[in-house]
């Protein structure tokens, strides 16, 4: 209990700590071009991850919901990156995307195309860390969707099939609307997750080129531990905390409403 309370007070203490520094740091969040650009970059990153992870995760879930031999092995394989640390997946992708000797560029040159500088050019660096993050999280999203899919009542689907609905129509007219809660949950969880991303920017791109992959947690790390500007870092951190709390608030607001079908 003592530890819990101390942790707790601590979190509550943070605003006081900030006041001591003055509200100047907060003004900087809105006026400093670096701060605006890091939040812009993080927003782009989050959108990119969502665009990939939601449809692909859903497709994988629909696929895994069917019956075919080797299903459990496929599920394990898709989930492997989720249990691998982001430090290792970032390192792995760093080597896969390297210009000389990287696996992906070896494929590209094999097809007769010139090699790409994925991690050192705009906008490819940002796209690369988006793809890496989506790759890592698809398995997790698929499991969330799978849980949702399994709660769709079988008799509703069967009734629709008996009435002559096609397979595609069952998905678009019945399953998708029933999955809207799960989808909201996935979207918010992945947005908060993207907000917290650090290792891809730190290990794969060092925030570059020209800060184009400087995600907000990487900017916090840099400000606090490299540029010796912990006040600004704390202001950024408080902003991150507030965004996460607001997103989670929206989520619980929507998930609490009972939707009847």
């Amino acid at each position: 209990m003592l530890v819990r309370n101390s942790f707790f007070d601590y979190t509550l203490l943070r605003p006081d700590e900030q006041k001591f520094v003055g509200i100047g740091q907060y003004e900087r969040i809105f006026t400093d071009p670096g701060a605006a650009s890091t939040f812009g970059t993080t927003l782009l990153f989050a959108l990119g991850v969502l665009v990939l992870v939601v449809p692909l995760g859903f497709l994988v879930a629909v696929f895994l919901n069917g019956r075919f031999p080797g299903r459990s092995i496929v599920r394990t394989i898709v989930f492997l990156p989720v249990v691998t640390s982001v430090a290792v997946t970032s390192t792995m992708w760093l080597f896969m995307l390297t210009k000389n000797g990287g696996l992906v560029n070896s494929l590209i040159t094999g097809l007769g195309l010139p090699p790409m500088a994925f991690l050192t050019s705009i906008p490819w660096a940002l796209i690369s860390i988006i793809v890496m993050t989506a790759w890592q999280q698809i398995g997790f999203v698929a499991v969330l969707f799978l849980t949702g899919l399994q709660s769709v009542p079988d008799d509703v689907v069967e009734a629709a099939r008996v009435d002559g609905a096609s397979r595609v129509r069952v998905v678009t007219a019945i399953i998708l609307p029933l999955m809207s809660r799960t989808t909201l949950f996935v979207v918010i969880t992945m947005t908060v997750f993207s907000l917290q991303a650090f290792a891809p920017a730190f290990l794969m791109t060092s925030g570059g080129p020209q800060d184009s992959t400087s995600l907000v947690v990487y900017a916090i790390y840099n400000a606090a531990f490299k540029l010796q500007d912990p006040g600004f870092a704390s202001a950024l951190a408080v902003a991150v905390m507030l965004i996460a709390l607001v997103l989670s608030g929206i989520q619980s607001l929507f998930l609490r409403t009972k939707w009847s079908y």
């Binding site: 209990m1 530890v3 819990r4 942790f7 707790f8 601590y10 994988v60 696929f63 075919f68 080797g70 496929v74 394990t76 394989i77 898709v78 989930f79 492997l80 990156p81 989720v82 249990v83 691998t84 640390s85 430090a87 290792v88 970032s90 390192t91 792995m92 992708w93 760093l94 080597f95 896969m96 000797g101 990287g102 696996l103 070896s106 494929l107 094999g110 790759w135 398995g139 997790f140 499991v143 969330l144 969880t189 997750f193 917290q196 650090f198 290792a199 290990l203 791109t205 060092s206 947690v217 916090i220 790390y221 606090a224 531990f225 912990p230 951190a237 991150v240 905390m241 996460a244 989670s248």
Partner: protein, 280 residues
């Protein structure tokens, strides 16, 4: 018998092939390359062939040298100590707190739980700067304890355990109290045995988080003999250095294999636990 449409078989095969290539091949490349020397890694990767994904050389040199020279052996031990301490501490604190919140009626227990839940929503990354200062005040920087202490009071574990505790009927403990058991005995011999699978699932997920954490250990410990495995592996490939590919791959495999094995054996627990954590 339902007729299996040949087109369906084809689509299934195609999807399985795409999934295997996209998700498994990177691991196969890293694993097979970890047994090769630098020259063979480069000559095998381009042009692509079966050799790219097969350990043609088959020597353990990279593993030996990464453990000896790149500090991976020491870091592996640190990670094990930290993860075990974190799992044990979290489970003790979490289950006692869950017992208090579900079994002892006191003013404001609901409010307290609500406040704790709010801390669940605070991203750990936002706390790194003040926690770092705090660890400095406590003279704990560059210690193994600094890596796990701040996370022992885990709202996630409390949340998961509290839910399991609530499902145990109160009549069960009342019967034990009538038989003369004290609260601690009820906790230990009545409640804990009935929530064993939740405790195991919770412990596995905490282990996973602890083992895979990167930012906090990177920040709080700068001395190399306090490094954790994830940081050690990542440092060996840090941008700006000319990395030894084979050694880095061997380190990545050492950092990943224990978890993959754990995952294969306890898949159900881990997937359920992670899904309920909403991924922290």
């Amino acid at each position: 018998m339902r007729r299996v449409h040949p087109a369906r078989v084809l689509v299934t095969l195609l999807v399985v092939a795409v999934v295997v290539v996209a998700f498994l091949l990177p691991y196969v490349w890293i694993l097979s390359s970890s047994f090769k020397d630098q020259g063979s890694i480069f000559s095998d990767v381009s042009p692509l062939s079966w050799k790219t994904f097969w350990p043609t050389g088959g020597s353990l040199d990279n593993y030996v040298s990464t453990i000896e020279n790149k500090n991976v052996g020491r870091a592996l031990l640190n990670s094990v100590i930290i993860a075990v301490a974190q799992v044990a501490g979290t489970l003790v604190l979490g289950s006692l707190a869950a017992f208090g919140l579900t079994r002892i009626r006191f003013r404001g227990s609901r409010l307290l739980f609500g406040l704790i839940l709010v801390t669940f929503l605070v991203p750990m990354e936002a706390l790194v700067v003040p926690l770092y200062a705090w660890m400095g005040d406590l003279h704990l920087r560059n210690s193994l304890a600094a890596v796990f202490l701040p996370w022992l009071a885990s709202p996630f574990a409390l949340f998961m355990l509290r839910q399991a505790f609530e499902e145990i009927p109160a009549e069960l403990d009342e019967a034990a109290y009538l038989d003369g058991a004290g609260p601690f005995r009820v906790f230990w011999s009545v409640i804990l045995p009935s929530v064993r699978s939740t405790v195991v699932g919770c412990g596995l997920v905490v282990f996973l988080f602890s083992w895979n954490s990167f930012l906090w250990p990177l920040v709080v410990n700068s001395s190399s003999d306090r490094e954790v495995i994830q940081v050690a592996v990542a440092q060996s490939a840090a941008p700006g250095q000319l990395p030894n590919w084979g050694e880095t791959f061997a380190g990545a495999m050492i950092a990943t294999l224990p978890l993959i094995l754990l995952f294969i054996f306890a898949q159900r627990h881990i997937v359920q636990g992670l899904a309920s954590s909403g991924l922290k």
